[in-house]
């Protein structure tokens, strides 16, 4: 119906590899892009800063994690630590007087180097053992941040993000914060989409799917696993910096604890491993569903339609949320992205279902 393949004829190889070969996809992306770009015009400050902005940043972070977990197939359960390294590095660098643009890249580099150190140690192991090794990273980094006052500013201290500007725009301004987060999400999206059509991305997938077959075709498994850790940690660190400067405005070690790591993994899994749209859907699900559920149940209770104890009221959203995650993963183990893909494939040939191959 909408997604029509007829009339799409490629005559050059580069055309078959463009980002969205189907016109409807291109229009959809353009509409979404314009909606996000104009969001400050039609969305209230509250929703912009508390819903849309964190969603964009967490989506970007999920995209960088899905590069490692989905594309390269290396599990990482300490990703919040990577983001913490980025966030703290950026703040300290800006405090030392480094311009934000450089501090931003510096945050990525510090996170990438430390992430790679753990990665290199972890690359000798696979699967569950890699999970344990990355968990160790989470706790070690947490411990160092909490116990080294030079980093955290003291055991239970909150470190304010200093006043900074990016290309003459101050972070004190809500618009700057939103547009910078938006830019970062677009940047990560483009990177992930390009990864899927270059030799770099194919080498990563080769390592994930069959490492011995990859090595006989000339892909060094160790090099590419390390590159995956480096690239992913680099962007993860930068996402942490964006989170610190655009959303939290002040960082504490608890903001990057183990539970955040599991949330990130949940975003990747619920969204769909290695999928770009999945990162957005997964982040939205993990981030927004608890909020919507709490608000909805509170509203129901206020209206008198739900008479339960205050204790149960607090836990009800969590119970529904957990059931929803299980439900979605049971219905479609490949995540929300696959559900979207199924719908798209349906419309691709609708109403001539028999023509599907």
């Amino acid at each position: 119906m909408f997604y029509r393949l007829s009339g799409v004829h490629h005559t050059r190889y580069e055309d078959t590899r463009r980002l969205w070969p189907i016109p409807t996809d291109r229009r959809l992306v353009a509409v979404l892009f314009l909606l996000a770009l104009s969001a400050p015009l039609w969305l209230s400050e509250l929703y912009l800063q508390n819903y849309l902005l964190p969603w964009l940043i967490w989506s970007a972070a999920t995209l960088s994690l899905t590069l490692l977990m989905g594309v390269a197939g290396q599990l990482h359960f300490g990703y919040a630590a990577v983001m913490a390294i980025g966030a703290y590095s950026a703040i300290h660098l800006v405090r030392l007087g480094v311009p934000f643009e450089l501090a931003f890249i510096g945050a990525g580099l510090v996170a990438a180097v430390i992430g790679c150190l753990f990665g290199a140690a972890a690359l000798r192991v696979k699967g569950l053992y890699l999970v344990m090794a990355t968990l160790a990273m989470q706790y070690l980094v947490d411990w160092v941040i909490v116990n080294v006052p030079a980093i955290s500013g003291g055991a239970h201290a909150t470190l304010q993000a200093p006043e900074a500007r990016v290309l003459f725009f101050s972070f004190a301004d809500g618009f700057t914060r939103y547009y910078f987060a938006f830019f970062w999400a677009v940047f990560m999206t483009v990177f992930l989409l390009n990864t899927k059509r270059t030799s770099f991305g194919r080498a990563l997938v080769a390592i994930r799917d069959k490492d011995y077959a990859a090595s006989v075709i000339g892909v060094s498994p160790f090099k590419y696993k390390l590159l995956a850790f480096f690239t992913s940690s680099f962007f993860g660190g930068m996402s942490g910096a964006v989170l610190a400067f655009c959303f939290y405005r002040a960082v504490t070690p608890e903001q990057f604890g183990f539970n955040v790591s599991t949330q990130l993994v949940a975003m990747v899994l619920v969204g769909g491993l290695g999928s770009v749209i999945g990162a957005y859907l997964g982040a939205a699900f993990v981030l927004l569903t608890p909020m919507i559920l709490s608000n909805g149940i509170a509203a129901l209770s206020d209206a008198g339609w739900l008479s339960v104890s205050a204790n149960l009221l607090a836990h009800l959203p969590l119970m529904i949320y957990g059931a929803l995650i299980i439900g979605f993963l049971l219905a479609e183990p490949l995540g929300l992205a696959k559900i979207y893909d199924n719908m798209r494939n349906y419309f691709l040939v609708w109403p001539f279902k028999h023509s599907r191959r």
Binding site: R202, D209, A213, S215, V216, S220, F230
Partner: protein
């Protein structure tokens, strides 16, 4: 110091360049002596068959050549350059490509992308080029796509090009694996049972494709195969392995009728 070249070695053949030479290759797995120092020389442009009963060390030999199990003793030379001891990806960069007995394709990729991975050693992959795809990667991708399309054309894979590899039939999967190896433009192609699990028609197709590739690309091929009809019809020479030792070598028909070979396969008859 050279080993015997088998029955058909003529002066003209002896003058040909040796593509792969294995000298006294030994490999142990714990207490199992899987390769007991066979010597082997494969000439450039030759299709060389490796046959023998199960567990005779054929695949182990191939794995020592491609670097999976480096020989604990002995040498492997590719065009007179020592390659034993190098990791598999370095050996691949030197121009050795192989296929596997049980198909080892990348299941998350399409047929086209699988074959494109074969171009890896000729490309310059980097995260930075990925970031600036339009300026730094596009031209290279298109150039290598053209090369891959030549291979797709040669192996007649046009209509499955965009399919995910795990949905196409086994016969085609084996062909895709051959295409991936060919895309690397190897100097030595190693085929580990390319016809395993195929029916007669698929086998005939595969033989045709191997011969086409051999002719068009001027390849040297080392092939493990159990189908004796295939071996006798396309191999220039064969070596027979049994229990880690080379028991015969030479022209296919004579070699597989060698009494020692028959004995290895069906057991020696005492009454004879």
């Amino acid at each position: 110091m050279q080993q015997k070249e088998g029955g058909v070695a003529t002066t003209a053949e002896a003058a040909r360049r040796v593509a792969l030479r294995c000298e006294n290759v030994n490999r142990w797995f714990g207490g199992l002596h899987a390769l007991k120092g066979p010597d082997l020389a494969i000439f450039q442009g030759e299709i060389f068959g490796l046959v023998g009963p199960n567990g005779s060390g054929k695949t182990t030999l191939v794995n020592t050549v491609t670097g999976f199990y480096p020989p604990q003793k002995g040498r492997v030379l590719l065009f007179d350059e020592q390659i034993n001891g190098l990791p598999p990806y370095r050996i691949a960069q030197k121009g050795v490509a192989r296929t596997f007995q049980n198909v080892a394709l990348f299941r998350g990729l399409t047929v086209l992308d699988n074959i494109l991975v074969g171009r890896h050693i000729h490309m310059r992959p980097s995260a930075l080029a990925t970031l600036g795809y339009w300026w730094w990667a596009k031209k290279e991708e298109v150039a290598h796509r053209a090369k891959v399309e030549d291979v797709i054309d040669l192996l007649q894979l046009e209509d499955v090009r965009d399919e995910p590899v795990d949905v196409i039939p086994l016969g085609l999967q084996k062909r895709v694996e051959l295409a991936r190896a060919l895309a690397a433009e190897p100097r030595l192609l190693v085929l580990d049972e390319p016809m395993a699990g195929m029916n007669q028609e698929e086998k005939e197709y595969m033989v045709r494709f191997i011969l086409d590739a051999h002719e068009d690309l001027g390849l040297t091929i080392l092939m493990i195969e159990h189908h004796m009809d295939v071996v006798t019809s396309i191999c220039h020479r064969v070596a027979v392995f049994n229990d880690g030792v080379k028991i015969a070598e030479g022209a296919p028909r004579e070699t597989i009728n060698d009494p020692a070979v028959v004995a290895a396969y069906i057991g020696a008859s005492d009454a004879a």
